[in-house]
Subunit: 413 residues, 4 copies
């Protein structure tokens, strides 16, 4: 239960109690940049499919920090030296790793802040917070940017088995109710060790790592790339892109004052770095803002915007098909044509309702995966060398294609 | 996983799988009045204290329906006749029991729809849906209004041990992480029986009921009446009341078009019954709308509105004290006076920042509680007659008083 | 997973991983006196009623030690000084607190080792182990005997909220499936603190303690004093007492060599202290030994022994009635008389099948309970002074009476 | 809580409540042949490694029946007709599927009842119970023997995804604490369907089945074929074989009367079928019996028997090495020779302490696995055709070799 400054235990649905072990952490959490994460869901529109998945970036950030605490405690028991200062820096680095996320997490990176990764924005926020907190975040920033001498610190913050992944797999599996995706974080952490400044997993932990990779793959297909989730997210992307298009063409559509500049302008990373207030303005955005606009857009004259908005708000989503090979342009043209006639819209407008894209589960690149296994004989090898299950596979990049289209054209197939 | 019409299983974080057993249920869930519940949190601002409690009225409604299904299955195993038609009606009655809730659930009943209980509005929505669905909800409405001949049906929907309470205690305990509030719903349902159209609990279930009442009391003090939750909710109430005040005095403040009529007008129950569009407009309100306005209000000229809004958004809450006896008006006057000076506001404006009220856990009135226990000798008695734990207590109404005030005046005490 | 000496992590069903943090602990666990606890169930015959409750004293001892580790870690975070030596001693004291338990835990204290508490025998074993391990257990023995200067150490090992109770309530609730008895050990430990060498619970932990006491009471009535458990345990007591009686009257009945001396002799605490081999012989006893004998006794000529043995083995238990007032001797005499005729046995023999006793849940003496609460104002008061729920009760000692009798006489009532 | 005949709900640690839905089931459970399963652990000596795994065949049988109930309910919702009579027969068939297991489950099949599978003995018990219960088990026996017309009934009792496996994986994972082995039984059952009397898994369940197979493999390497478990089980086998050898050579060693005939004789399946009392005598065996004998054997003159017995009782196990290729006979001979000298025993006797064998996880034969997947287009294909994860693998039979030897010879390597 998290009450006020002197009260430093937070109840977490997944882990129980999370202890804020330093006043600086407490102050960072209380900062408005961080509080804002309460209003950004971790899984965006996945709650349209898994109604339990309303957990937020705020929870995920705290959870990742909790796992970092456990890992530090554990490594110290194995006689790895981590100073108090390093410990605090590690915890802050992971606490803030996602602070640059915009509304609906990933969908926004394709619209409002096109082509700027949230990691980059996270770093900008960390630098700003570093000014506010008198350079107390220097070491955290070094770790986050992989500039610190102990290289495995970076791996704890960002790697195939970093605290971020351990937490989000556990948490997303928990809230969606996809119990097959559950992983044994406690055991994985227990199996971690450090040899020559490298993060390794002890041999007896191989099965846990295999389970972890298996669960990750399962979560991709069952949640992150669930077909209905894909449909919903691309509808959201289309809505925001359409709104931008209209605003930039000087059409008058509803907007909250907060969102408006992000519709009017195509901000670049440079802008984020140079414009004094942009980070501040971005910090006001959240899921609530977007949803409020979408609700108003239900009544806009523009057919594309109003139709798509209505569909999202009332969960009446575009139909989606997924297959291994590309969809023929003929079928897409045919549907587009029918939409033009039926909705009385242009070709371009129709293409907001029928579209195809490639998806690939590219985080599951076993071949590139360097999970170091510490054998009982003290040698360090790559996981693929010792796992029955994940060895000798040429590639695990699975590419698929999806096609979205309005339900009423289902009979075209 | 809940995809589309023909796919009728929904993942629930708490119970696992919830099966929609009838197409009418599916259609009701897909209706925009119901979909809207996705955007209303079950516990309002409690997530400022328990960051995991982001679950929605949508989830609670489905969960309550699931428990109704289990109860019906169970009672049928005990040879209680419940026809298919009755079964469907019971499930719909509980599914829709909260459909009249406004944003942030309870806080709104003291501002936007002052003095109109959500149950009344729920009934209006049910009647409207009844028209839309060709009177298929007649029986559900009868049950919900306690007009159906089998009186225990009403108890399943509304009583000391109804499906609503079973679900919300279980669910709120789960998401807040207050594990002490967890209850054994499966066991309680197993102990239910019907004798002479009365809902009874079999004697061997007494301990489970005691546990249930104990957990309920605990959840009140630890969650629903948690001091910081009280502070946050009253700040929200003050914000909305201040906004209404300003709008009604013709001050120009920001509002989304959707919220505006509810700020301008003081709608009565009569209005809800008679104004053709009011239900429709009310259905557009949700937590997101309110939050978006509050964020804009942070910049209003009015000090009360902007200060309180900033405090909520950045979780910088009023301090709160709770005690058994009333707070002296002297101390309140003293703080009010200091606020006037410090903030340069009037007495009335200052009273938005320092205020006291009575709280009472009045749902815990053991004396009025009629939980029927079916003894092994087939007699039916009230719980208080057979429970060691909940007997011979004159009253369990615990009254307390709270005082809210700005942190900076802490030294006044 | 617990493999061999250098592998010091044990999987626990309840807590996950238990780490053996010192080689001495590892060696103590590997000693045959401790290994024997693997063959003694924690809840004796309760598995006849709750088939999942097959957990052992071995698991409970490890679990209690785990909670001690957590408590020590936690108290150290609150700046309480506990040296490494003290920490190890505390862990060993709790690890060995039950090492003197005989087969079926409590039932044996009324037969095989009549009138010798298992705590006394535990101390003897600790002293013997102290010799074996070169006095390394001195401090543990001091703590266990409440002779150590830091008085709260003893409270961690033995008090109303000691590690023993925290573990057994959690564990017994878990394995029996009586989920209402589940307690939040992590939270209780988090609320512990030490003031003036006294163990206290911080004010905000009151609800958790109330929950703990409530759960304890519930577990008593639902598990430990469950009527069928009482019946089974008293049948076991009668079986062993009958076997002793027969052996001591020189009747030839089956016995394993290991059990025989305990049937022949009525050992006293003095015997345990003085006879060189008695502790060694006692260490060979376990549930398995007793069960093996009972199975053979099914075929003994003696009707009492064979009948009762058959009833236990095939779970065909004596009927039991429980009531608040004493059972009339008239009804007991009547049943006894009928048994004599029907089974062709003497009055005394018949009294093995019909008997009455008092039971009282005497561990629930709220009045004597000294659970210290540390108020926010730094005063320390007794729980009953600040708990709504457990205050102003004259007594909570609930006395009841039970009557056991063969099923076939059910119609006598 | 399972009290007596009229009380038909049993608490299960894993599933909560198990309802006995028919009086015949209740009577079968109360029969001594079934009650005996309370005294046979599911995982034999695995509790020496995972101390929580003390669950019994009794629990597993009930759990499997519970899953059968759920499956029947579920299939009926999918409009598959299963009559009441069939439903009862299915439940009984799975309830009794393991009733022929001897002490320590599998270890006994290599000693006491050499070369007779427990399935065969289960069938004999079912036939005997069929006589006792007036042929009410006819249909169950037909299903169990795969003679019933609805072929998928047999698959529910015995196949790659039968109720037996679903329960034991879930249960063994739960009790051992190897959480990576946990499977989503509820979801798998939800995905089951019947087409043309074939049991199929609907396409959207593929991930759950993959997860199930993955978990099974993991449980094999982490639990069932855990190296220390293998060592312990082979020591037990050696103990019993040595005891038989000695008894059959007329050496006088301790034995309970119950075990003696099984040491003296090498019973064949024919014996079980023809000897009137053999089934009755076998029913008296359980883990407790064996353990009691082993404890006595600790003091036998025979060095092999006493040494091995002591090692098991005090958990001082043979060291074990596992590798992909055979162990050289040279090293084995060398160790054997050293043992002969050190223990003063013969070559043959020494080979009880040093021995090698092949192990293979042969239940994981993906190629033979016929798990039918019902595609969305209504075609039925084998799992390997549609699973990314379990396709195109030549074989999954993984063969390994182990070598057991006394710890003190560790330096030989």
């Amino acid at each position: 239960m998290y009450k006020d400054k002197k009260d430093k235990i937070i109840n977490d649905t997944v882990y129980g109690f999370i202890c804020l072990e330093d006043n600086l952490i407490n102050e960072l959490i209380n900062h408005k940049y961080f509080q804002r994460l309460r209003r950004i869901t971790q899984l965006g529109l996945a709650n349209l499919i898994y109604p339990g998945s309303n957990h937020t970036r705020f929870q995920h950030a705290l959870g990742s920090m909790f796992l970092m605490q456990r890992t530090i405690e554990h490594l110290r028991k194995k006689k790895i030296t981590i100073t108090e200062k390093e410990s605090l820096a590690l915890k802050i680095a992971i606490l803030l790793h996602d602070i640059g996320h915009g509304p609906f997490s990933h969908a926004l990176e394709k619209t409002i802040v096109k082509n700027i990764s949230h990691e980059k924005i996270s770093l900008l926020y960390m630098q700003k917070l570093n000014q506010i907190f008198n350079n107390k975040l220097n070491l955290s920033i070094n770790i986050f940017s992989n500039k610190y001498s102990k290289k495995y610190f970076y791996n704890l913050v960002s790697s195939q088995i970093d605290m971020d992944r351990l937490d989000y797999l556990k948490r997303d599996s928990f809230y969606t109710g996809v119990s097959e995706g559950n992983i044994g974080v406690e055991r994985i952490i227990n199996m971690m060790n450090v040899v020559d400044e490298k993060l390794v997993i002890e041999e007896k932990g191989i099965h846990s790592i295999e389970k972890f990779l298996f669960a990750r793959r399962l979560m991709y297909w069952q949640v992150y790339l669930h077909k209905t989730v894909i449909s919903a997210e691309h509808m959201l992307i289309n809505i925001l892109n359409r709104a931008k298009e209209l605003v930039q063409q000087k059409y008058l559509i509803y907007s909250t004052p907060t969102l408006l500049p992000f519709l009017k302008n195509n901000y670049t990373y440079k802008d984020f770095k140079n414009k004094v207030n942009l980070l501040e303005e971005f910090a006001l955005l959240d899921d609530y803002e977007i949803y409020t606009c979408i609700k108003q857009w239900c009544n806009e004259q523009d057919k594309v915007l109003s139709k798509l908005s209505n569909m999202i708000i009332n969960r009446n989503l575009l139909k989606i098909k997924i297959q291994d090979k590309k969809f023929s342009s003929k079928i897409i043209e045919k549907i587009n044509f029918t939409i033009q006639k039926k909705y009385n819209v242009s070709y371009k407008e129709a293409s907001y309702f029928v579209f195809t894209k490639k998806i690939s589960h590219n985080t599951y690149k076993i071949d590139e995966e360097k999970i170091n296994i510490l054998l009982n004989n003290r040698k360090i090898v790559d996981l693929t060398k010792v796992s029955d299950h994940f060895s000798n596979r040429k590639t695990n990049i699975k590419q698929k294609y999806f096609l979205c289209y309005p339900k009423e054209f289902n009979n075209i197939f």
